[in-house]
C-alpha cells in the first residue's frame, strides 16, 4: 500500500484528560450520486458500490487521498448481511488512508442525518478533527432472504451428522418454505405500509390533493432550476452515465399531476376520497450521499472552505402503533423541541428543508407546527407558527430527487450547507440559519440546525 499515514505520532500522556471544550463542527462539503429510480440505471450497483463511488468523489473533490480521517460513519436501511462492515469496506475501496476507521449506523430514513450528527458530535467534543458521514440504499439490489423455516432447517442440516437425519429435516420442508422473502415495506407492528400510514394521517389533517400536487410540482421545478444554474456541480459525482436524478421531471405540470390516480388510502369506506398518487409520493430509489465534516482548524490547514456549522439536532418518536400520532409525524415534535432549546423561531431560518417522504408529510408536519391546541396538548410547547413557503425546499427535495432511504439526510445536509454559504456570501454580517426535518420509519424523525 502506498497510502501514507496522515497523522503525527502521539506521545503517551501522563496527565488526565482535560474537560473537553465543545466547538461547532463545520460542514466542509458534500458529494452524492445522482439518485436512480428503482430498477433503473443503478439496478446492477450494490450499496457498497454506490457508497464507495460517492465517497471516492468526495475524496477526489477535497484532495483527501491518503488522508487518515477521524471517522467515516454511514449506513444503509436495506442492508445485506454480508455488508456487516459496509462503511469500512467503502473506506478500503476509496483512496483514503487505510488507517481511517469506520462505523455503520442505521435510523431508517434518518440514517445519514444521524451519521452527520454522530460525526459532528465527535468533532464538537474534540475527539476527532475530521470525518465523513453518509448513507446508501438500493431498492433494486434489496436483500432477499430465505423463509424462517428454510433457514432453521438449513442451520439444523449443517449440524446433522447422519444421512437419515438430513433426509428427515429435508422431508419436513414444504414447497412454500422455498419461496424467497423480499424485504417488507410495511411497519412490523401495524402491517400498514408507509404510504397507507400516511394516507391515514393525510385524512386526519384534512390535506387536499391540490395542496399535495402543488408541493410535488414545486419540488420538480425547484430541483430542475437548481440543476440548470449549476448548483449541484460541486455536490454530485456522475455515476453509471447518470448526471441528474432519474426521477426528476423538469417538464411536469399541474395538469399532468392531476391526471394521476391515487395509489394509497384506497381501502375502506373513504377510498373514493384518496389523494396520494405516484406523483405526490416519493419513488423507490437507489443512490448514496456523503458529507465532509471537520473542525475549522482542520479545514483551514488544508485551505478547505467552511460552508456552515452544525448547531444542534433533536430526534423524536411517536406512538403510531396505538394510533396516538401518524407514523411520519415525528418532525412535529422534534422541530418545536429543537427550536425551543435554542431559543429560535421559524423566522430565524432562511431555509427550511423538510424531507418529502410524501407531499402530504410536509403538509401534515407544517399543519401541526402551526396548530396551537395540538402543540400545547401533544408537545407541551407553544405552536411554532406558519412557515414562509418561499423558504421551503428551495432546490427541490425527495419527490423530485428520489429517496434512497439512508442517503437522503446527507443529500439535504450538503444542499442546505451550500445554500447557507451562498446566502452568507451575499448577506454578509449576521448568522444565516437552515432547518432540516427528516421523518423515518418506526415513527421517528431527526431535526437539525445548520448555520453559516
Amino acid at each position: 500500500m502506498s497510502k501514507r499515514n496522515g497523522a503525527s505520532q502521539s506521545q503517551p500522556s501522563t496527565q488526565s484528560s482535560p474537560t473537553p471544550q465543545t466547538r461547532r463542527a463545520a460542514v466542509v462539503g458534500a458529494n452524492r450520486l445522482p439518485f436512480g429510480k428503482a430498477g433503473g440505471t443503478y439496478s446492477s450497483a450494490s450499496n457498497l458500490d454506490m457508497l464507495t463511488a460517492a465517497l471516492s468523489g468526495l475524496v477526489a473533490r477535497y484532495g483527501l487521498a491518503g488522508e487518515r480521517l477521524g471517522e467515516v460513519t454511514a449506513g444503509a436501511v436495506l442492508k445485506h448481511s454480508r455488508d456487516f462492515n459496509l462503511t469500512r469496506e467503502a473506506v478500503l475501496g476509496a483512496s483514503l488512508s487505510a488507517q481511517t476507521p469506520a462505523s455503520d449506523v442505521q435510523r431508517a430514513c434518518g440514517t445519514s442525518l444521524e451519521s452527520t450528527w454522530s460525526v459532528a458530535n465527535k468533532i464538537a467534543l474534540g475527539q476527532i478533527d475530521s470525518g465523513i458521514a453518509g448513507g446508501t440504499d438500493s431498492t433494486s439490489d434489496a436483500p432477499i432472504v430465505v423463509s424462517d423455516r428454510l433457514r432453521r432447517t438449513l442451520i439444523k442440516l449443517s449440524r446433522a451428522k447422519t444421512v437419515p437425519q438430513r433426509l428427515q429435516l429435508l422431508a419436513g420442508l414444504r414447497p412454500g418454505d422455498l419461496v424467497p422473502v423480499a424485504p417488507d415495506v410495511a411497519e412490523p407492528r401495524t402491517g400498514l405500509s408507509m404510504g397507507e400510514h400516511q394516507a391515514l394521517t393525510t385524512r386526519q389533517w384534512g390535506i387536499t390533493r391540490e395542496a399535495q400536487d402543488e408541493i410535488a410540482l414545486a419540488s420538480h421545478h425547484n430541483l430542475a432550476a437548481a440543476y440548470d444554474r449549476g448548483f449541484f456541480d460541486d455536490l454530485l459525482t456522475p455515476y453509471r452515465g447518470l448526471t441528474r436524478d432519474e426521477s426528476l421531471r423538469a417538464d411536469t405540470s399541474a395538469d399532468k399531476l392531476t391526471k394521476l390516480k391515487p395509489v394509497f388510502g384506497l381501502k375502506g369506506g373513504d377510498g373514493a376520497k384518496a389523494t396520494m398518487t405516484a406523483g405526490n409520493s416519493t419513488p423507490l430509489s437507489d443512490g448514496a450521499a456523503t458529507v465532509l465534516l471537520a473542525s475549522d482548524e482542520w479545514a483551514a490547514e488544508r485551505g478547505l472552505p467552511v460552508l456552515a456549522h452544525v448547531v444542534d439536532a433533536e430526534a423524536a418518536a411517536v406512538d403510531f402503533v396505538r394510533g396516538e400520532d401518524g407514523l411520519l409525524m415525528g418532525g412535529a415534535y422534534a422541530v418545536p423541541r429543537l427550536l425551543h432549546r435554542n431559543g429560535l423561531t421559524l423566522d430565524d431560518f432562511a431555509f427550511l428543508e423538510i424531507h418529502e417522504a410524501f407531499a402530504s408529510t410536509v403538509l401534515t408536519t407544517i399543519a401541526a407546527w402551526a396548530d396551537e391546541d395540538w402543540s400545547q396538548r401533544k408537545v407541551g410547547l407553544p405552536a411554532i407558527g406558519e412557515i414562509d413557503r418561499s423558504r421551503l425546499n428551495v432546490t427541490g427535495s425527495s419527490l423530485a430527487a428520489g429517496h434512497p432511504f439512508a442517503a437522503t439526510g446527507a443529500r439535504i445536509v450538503g444542499t442546505l450547507a451550500k445554500l447557507l454559504a451562498e446566502k452568507k456570501a451575499t448577506q454578509g454580517e449576521g448568522p444565516v440559519r437552515g432547518l432540516i426535518s427528516v421523518c423515518a420509519a418506526g415513527g421517528q424523525a431527526v431535526a437539525m440546525i445548520l448555520e453559516a
Partner: protein, 295 residues
C-alpha cells in the same frame, strides 16, 4: 364449584389426542342417542406445568410479543387451556367438542408468569345456558404459582343447534354494535397462519389447517384461530406497565384465510385500550375487545 370432584392429571393433555378422542365420541354419541344434559362436576388439575423455551420463542415471534422470559397472557392460555379442553372431551360432557364456536374470551392476569415458573393449572366448566342458536358454556382455567392465582381465563363456547332443557335461560339477543376505533393497522394473513398458530399452540383443529379440512366442517376455507387474532391484538396494545390487566375479546365473523383484517385501537375510559378487527370492504366485524389495567 365447591362440590366438584378433583381429577388430577399427570401432565397437560395434548389437544391432538383430545380432538381424536372427540372424533371417536362423535360416533359414539350418534350411536347412543342419549347425550348427557348437565355439566360434569369435575375440576381437572395439573400441577408443575412449565413453559418450554423453544415453544415460547416461537409463540413470541409469531404473535409479535417481546422476546423476554415473561410469558405473554396469550401464551399462558396456550399452556393451560388443554386442561379445560380435557373437560370438554369427557364422555359425560353434554356438548360436542368438535364444531363448538369460541364466542368470547376473558383473561384476568394478576401477575405475569415467567419461564422457569412451576405453574399449577385448574380447569372446569360452568354456566351452561341457552343461546339464540344453541347452548353456551364457560370453560374456566386458573393458573397459579405457589398457591397464588396469577392468571384466570374464561372461554365461552357455543354449541350451535344444540338445545338442552337443563340449560339456564340465556342473555337476550345480541348487544348493539359499538363504533369501530380508528384504523391503526392492517393484517395481511396468509393461508398458512392457521397452521403456524397450530404449531405454537398445539391447537390443530381441522377448521384452521387447510381449506380441505375446513370444508368438512362447513367453512369455505380455513379460518384463523380466534385466539391468534386476540393475542396479536394484545401484543399490539402491549401489556400495561405492571402486567396486571384484564384482556377481553368477543368474536364475530370468522376470518377466512388468506385474508386481510383491518385493525384499530383507541384509548379506553379508565386507562387501557379497546380494539377491533374488521373487513374494510364489507364492514363485517371479526372481533372486538379491550386490554384494561386492573391495578
Amino acid at each position: 364449584m365447591a362440590d366438584m370432584t378433583e381429577v388430577r392429571l399427570t401432565q397437560v393433555p395434548s389437544l391432538g389426542s383430545l380432538y381424536a378422542q372427540a372424533l371417536g365420541r362423535l360416533a359414539q354419541t350418534v350411536m347412543a342417542m342419549r347425550p348427557a344434559t348437565a355439566l360434569p362436576q369435575v375440576r381437572y388439575v395439573v400441577d408443575g406445568v412449565h413453559a418450554d423455551a423453544d415453544q415460547l420463542a416461537a409463540y413470541q415471534q409469531l404473535l409479535g410479543e417481546p422476546g423476554t422470559d415473561v410469558l405473554p397472557a396469550g401464551y399462558v392460555h396456550v399452556l393451560a387451556f388443554p386442561v379445560a379442553m380435557a373437560v370438554m372431551a369427557r364422555a359425560d360432557f353434554p356438548l360436542p367438542l368438535l364444531g363448538m364456536v369460541h364466542l368470547a374470551n376473558t383473561v384476568e392476569q394478576r401477575s405475569p408468569g415467567r419461564l422457569g415458573d412451576r405453574l399449577d393449572v385448574r380447569a372446569w366448566a360452568e354456566g351452561l345456558r341457552a343461546h339464540r342458536v344453541g347452548t353456551q358454556v364457560d370453560l374456566v382455567t386458573e393458573v397459579s404459582r405457589e398457591g397464588e392465582i396469577l392468571w384466570r381465563g374464561v372461554s365461552t363456547y357455543l354449541a350451535k343447534g344444540k338445545k338442552l332443557a337443563s340449560a339456564a335461560p340465556g342473555e337476550p339477543g345480541e348487544r348493539p354494535e359499538a363504533a369501530l376505533p380508528p384504523v391503526t393497522g392492517q393484517w395481511k394473513l396468509r393461508a398458512d397462519v392457521g397452521r403456524r398458530y397450530a404449531a405454537v399452540s398445539g391447537d390443530r383443529n381441522p377448521i384452521h389447517l387447510s381449506a380441505l379440512t375446513a370444508k368438512l366442517f362447513g367453512f369455505p376455507r380455513a379460518i384463523a384461530h380466534g385466539m391468534y387474532t386476540a393475542s396479536r391484538a394484545l401484543a399490539t396494545v402491549g401489556a400495561p406497565g405492571d402486567e396486571a390487566f384484564r384482556w377481553n375479546v368477543e368474536f364475530g365473523k370468522p376470518v377466512l384465510l388468506p385474508g386481510t383484517v383491518t385493525f384499530g385501537l383507541a384509548p379506553a375510559e379508565g386507562g387501557g385500550h379497546t380494539y377491533a378487527g374488521w373487513d374494510a370492504r364489507s364492514g363485517k366485524v371479526y372481533f372486538t375487545g379491550s386490554v384494561i389495567a386492573t391495578s
